[in-house]
Point group: C3
């Protein structure tokens, strides 16, 4: 009998259902406030969280591979340099066609340099009168070599300290400009993956055929999905002038945005191209504006001496930057955001109750029925008089 | 006295505790519905959010550095080319051993090119009868140089327009294949960091010793953590044939997945290797299939003229792609997800109440005790008759 | 009349407001527990979620471009090699100045290699007595070429198998160290974008002028925002010694942290530099410690034979790694986190109710007024006696 009673008590404990007592108030005003607040919360959840922010989606960032291939040739024939024909192997450095490629557009060529001694270029710190002005072994980071301690004639008018260096030194005045580079074209092949969603895509779209690819050229209006770009167009889409940029060099970003909504009801996932200059072209607050670097081709003369042709290469580095976030419906963010929204629904009664007891016409009546006040000195269940049922009980008990 | 009253009212306002009046219903049915719904929500939270999605974790993405070093040599001896021995310095371009390295597997070599004039390769647009067919200064992007306006004998049977270019022109037929490249091995050294968790790891595991590293070779079954890979194995794991791929070239991704659960109760954090061809090998919808680029080695002849050897290099670019997301217990996502789950717990009484007043056998009794209806024209606290306490009050007050 | 009644019922259904009946308990103890629990939750939300974790922000990861330019020159004059002057075009490989640049600090030069035959370097597997020990066509991956099957004199004391290779073979003992490399400086230009917030910034800060940039040098204390770094300082900030590292080479990470709070009330968004060695320098568990690679310069002799100078280049690869997450106030994460917090506020009454019915002094009184128990066999609204209102009703109804 005892265990049966115990079991019964457990059942009561576990399965008795405790539910709040409620009061139904037939007030249009309060009801309207309640429903309107509810409506606002639901609108917010549906409209903003779900439609605008797509908070029901799980997201992943893109992994991508890029191959680039430049085509075109140029011919330079200026007074400073020999006439020369340039093809891809000459002006693309490095040649691999990675996600970042450099197109040589301007250069200072210093041929036939050998390891020897020659007078420095004239500058306030290198001009000398006699050997006493030059310190053997001194190397000025802004100079071109290690001083030998001698003072030599640089020209008929100037004497400068002699340095140990690759001589003759580079004189940064004779430029050879590849103006024709603006008509080079580049084919960009880009494959992307969203590993979380096992989603693969290429920027050469499936419905595109080979003959189209052979003749097309990117144009935002007419051919927005052609992967072949004319360099001039890229630069002008970035708001720059190719010939201006060619002189000092620069860095140009080809941004491919693969942000996609992968849910089946959303449209197709297509790349969006945009172009932006990435370096700072303004001369203010700028050291070494533009983009250039020096490299050398090494030769050996017939008697085994090493010579080099130093090239200060100005040009445009094109960085293909692939970015994007894909979203697809997933249960966890949906639950999290729905949970947050439901929390706000639980705020609605707070608003409505506040309206009920402060603003509604019959607020006294409503709060009298809704709220029971226990008096402070209550011991034998005495309550304040505006609590109807309990006061009533008092009434009867004192009967 | 007044301030004391004011203070008292404040205390009442701040510390009076308002709690809902509740009704306990000893119904097994309703109780079961209530507990079962609760159980479902708790199961969802524990099972799906915590165990499957690990929503209690904060996450970080990987930062990584890769060094690669290829070993092996090859010997080519075809009828088209001179016998030649190839080592790492010859076939790895660029030589640095970055996260992306290219192994030369096939090439078209055009030696002794000089800047001069020569007749174009025959094609419908270059074949000519006399000089009138050739336009001086015209440069066809699909051609090889700038037309001089002359029409020259290309062979005994064909006449083509002469171009200014690097001559002789490249003829894309004489290939030299490095078949032995499939036996080259590559050592991949990869260090990763999860900066948010201050977690560092290498793909050479701590328990591995140097003698093992000197002789091991990656094999998914027997040596899954050896960082030395045979190129042939990489390609065949990606579902391709090395010799096929060597001819036209391609891009092969070596994917290292460092996705880890960094909580102490989870296992060790180990890299997982996978291999995937990244370019599109199918000839449909494909321009320039495979992977190749042109580069040149520049020489000077004894009399100072520049010549070059043009190499059209086909080969496999191996891209080491490191990715991964690590998770570790963190209080904020835990709170957010618990919060969302608790919101769902607050839905449980809604379900149980609905069951109570619509489906349970004694629904009339329950709703009579649970809900009090104020009548619409209530002014002097008149209520509908099935609200016991209030109607009772009326009864007495009308007494 | 019927439709009017129907409409009225719909209005009642839609706009009748159902609110819980509540009991106000004037107990300081319970009130204090309630307010204190509320306070704890609010503190947690404000203090931890909002201030520490900034959970009210939407986040985005950085997209960046890096250009580097090294300056400086060196002179080597050891007994092993000819005196030689080194400038940027000689020691920066590749020359482009990408986000990853390599500074040559030590090298083994093997000049005048030609394709020919020579005896292997002596090792247990290459030493031979006569031709029978050598297998024609055999190529040992750890050797230097393909065996011809002959056994030749390597020196007066040792005979080794002859191989077909680039001869003479590299002998890894004559090093040429560029000790002066520690004084080279590098200018790092870094532009970043947070695309989601349309936020662009450079590591050359707007208030910095050109004259400062021409003379400044990074120093954590005095010039923390100068983008020009002395290589020696980078290495020593990473806890390494430049001269030690120069011998075997290594990889050094220049980490630029652009983690920013983009809210207007937060401070400026500035890059934070840190430096860390990325490869493993310890000889334990290490194959090929340090960082080196082989490359060759190709020459042609007067009679057209190809020769090369093989260079085993040791040096430091500097990887500029840009990372960071920016946060800016956004409504969705704010709502989600507030929602989660509000869920916890709904836990507060549970705690207070539990305290009310178990710990408070007058718990019997409180629970008698708060909770009404329906008896199990209730059919005609019979309830247990401690539910005052209902028992009262019974009293009267049985009257």
């Amino acid at each position: 009998i005892k265990s049966a009673g115990c079991c019964k008590r457990f059942l009561h404990y576990a399965f008795d259902y405790e539910t709040p007592k409620t009061l139904v108030i037939p007030s249009l005003g309060v009801g309207f406030v309640f429903r309107f607040t509810q409506f606002l919360v639901v609108m917010y959840v549906v409209g903003y969280v779900c439609v605008v922010q797509k908070a029901y989606q799980d997201t992943d960032t893109v992994i991508s591979t890029v191959t680039t291939k430049v085509k075109g040739f140029a011919f330079t024939n200026t007074s400073d340099t020999e006439p020369r024909f340039w093809d891809v192997a000459d002006y693309i450095i490095p040649p691999q066609g990675d996600h970042s490629f450099f197109v040589l557009t301007n250069m200072v060529v210093t041929p036939k340099q050998v390891q020897s001694r020659c007078p420095e270029l004239p500058s306030p710190s290198t001009i000398c009168v006699d050997d006493c002005n030059c310190v053997e072994g001194h190397s000025d980071p802004r100079g071109n070599g290690i001083q030998t301690g001698l003072c030599e004639n640089y020209s008929t008018t100037a004497r400068t300290c002699e340095v140990l260096s690759w001589c003759p030194l580079e004189i940064d005045t004779k430029h050879a400009l590849l103006a024709a580079a603006e008509n080079f074209t580049v084919l960009i092949k880009n494959s992307i993956t969203y590993p979380k969603f096992n989603f693969h895509r290429r920027n050469i779209l499936p419905h595109v055929n080979s003959s189209y690819l052979k003749r097309c050229e990117f144009s935002r209006l007419t051919d927005p999905h052609c992967p072949i770009f004319r360099l001039k167009d890229i630069v002008s889409e970035a708001g720059e002038d190719f010939q201006d940029m060619a002189v000092k060099g620069g860095i140009l970003g080809i941004l491919i945005d693969w942000s996609c909504d992968l849910d089946w009801w959303a449209g197709e996932c297509l790349p969006k191209y945009s172009f932006r200059r990435l370096d700072n072209k303004h001369p203010v607050n700028n050291v070494a504006p533009g983009y250039n670097f020096r490299f050398a081709k090494y030769y050996k003369t017939a008697d085994g001496e090493e010579t080099r042709t130093l090239i200060k290469a100005y040009g445009i580095r094109f960085d293909v930057i692939v970015f994007g976030t894909a979203g697809r419906f997933s249960i966890v963010p949906t639950i999290v955001n729905l949970g947050a929204a439901l929390s706000f629904l639980s705020l609605v009664p707070v608003v409505a109750d506040w309206f009920l007891v402060t603003c509604s016409r019959k607020r006294d009546l409503y709060s009298r029925h809704k709220t029971t006040h226990l008096t402070e000195d209550a011991d034998s269940a005495s309550v304040r008089d505006f609590s109807p049922s309990l006061s009533l009980m008092n009434l009867i008990s004192t009967d």
